[in-house]
Symmetry: C2
Subunit: 204 residues, 2 copies
């Protein structure tokens, strides 16, 4: 069979389904993500995905894994174009975090919606990929927190604090959250982060 004819096999249906899902969400929001629509967009029957993903939950995890990969890339890019000052680096991580949450809002919502994060019924390989990619972005933040002091008796308090802070800020005060502040203008996150008055570890 020549390459010009349409083969029965798709070639890389798995990849096509992930891409289709991301596109559907970017175009029409989280709820537009549907197994059948993904299949249709990939040019394949609605039951075809079953051979690559155990079900819609499994496909969602795969999409979330891809999202976390983009996420880590976005944060890393922001870091590389920032001078190696500790505070500037940490600001860059948060900047990347918030920019991604804005630019890929539906994907971001999916990634951090805990009702999708039931890995128990998922193909182990897909679950593993998701966890690894998710840890990647956290590693960048952890690394950026390294130079700063922690609270006494909590070796990781800074990273927990900053992660909670930036994540909560992204969830609550991004564009389109109708619940947002009954309390005047929202400060820039950079100012919020500076308000933590983090201290460089002695001897650095």
């Amino acid at each position: 069979m020549t390459k010009l004819e349409k083969p029965h096999h798709h070639g890389d249906l798995r990849e096509a389904l992930v891409i289709a899902g991301i596109e559907l969400m970017e175009e029409n929001g989280v709820d537009a993500l549907t197994l059948r629509k993904c299949a249709a967009r990939a040019g394949v029957s609605h039951a075809a995905p079953a051979h690559h993903f155990k079900g819609i939950a499994s496909l969602k995890i795969a999409i979330m894994a891809r999202g976390h990969s983009f996420f880590a890339t976005a944060i890393a890019k922001e870091m590389t174009r920032t001078p190696p000052d500790p505070m500037a680096q940490l600001q860059a991580v948060c900047q990347g975090y918030l920019v991604f949450a804005n630019r890929h809002n539906p994907l971001f919502q999916l990634m951090f919606n805990s009702s999708n994060t039931d890995l128990s019924t998922i193909t182990p390989a897909v679950a593993a990929e998701f966890l690894q990619n998710a840890h990647e972005s956290y590693g960048l933040l952890k690394q950026a927190c390294e130079p700063f002091e922690n609270a006494p008796g909590a070796a990781n308090s800074t990273e927990i604090t900053v992660w909670s802070l930036v994540h909560g800020f992204a969830m609550l005060f991004n564009k389109d959250s109708s619940r947002a502040a009954p309390t005047g203008p929202i400060p820039e996150f950079a100012k919020i982060l500076a308000g933590l008055e983090l201290r460089i570890k002695p001897g650095l």
Copy 2:
């Protein structure tokens, strides 16, 4: 007609649907919330809810409003049983926040899932009730932040900081979040909050 016979009218179907929805979620998670199941549990046909809510989105908003009411109550209760020291009060607010997020996790997830927060197609009265109740809990947090200094040039930085912090912490580090820390044990939130080193306003 005597009160003993079953009337054609339900009596308070609207209320019954809200309760049914909350019960369904508490029993089987967020995804168990379904228009038809709510109707069934309220002992009514699947089309009956249409007269009280424009659709499932509208019912969800009503449930979220009820949730925010419980939420504010839980926070207020925690405040009243705490001595009127500013820092203790703020800790109490966060304690109430996190306890609620744990004890009513599906409801909490629903309340803060922005994909449900499209008020544009909703009955205005339902939307208004939701916004009012949502602002109630925020008011308590704002009030507890009142005694503390804000960052220069941001009159509300403390409340934004604390709200982001506690909300992010609740989302990321509650039980069952499979993405949680690749980084050792999670500190108590009280320690995290104390780490902010908030200062009482001069003259208080």
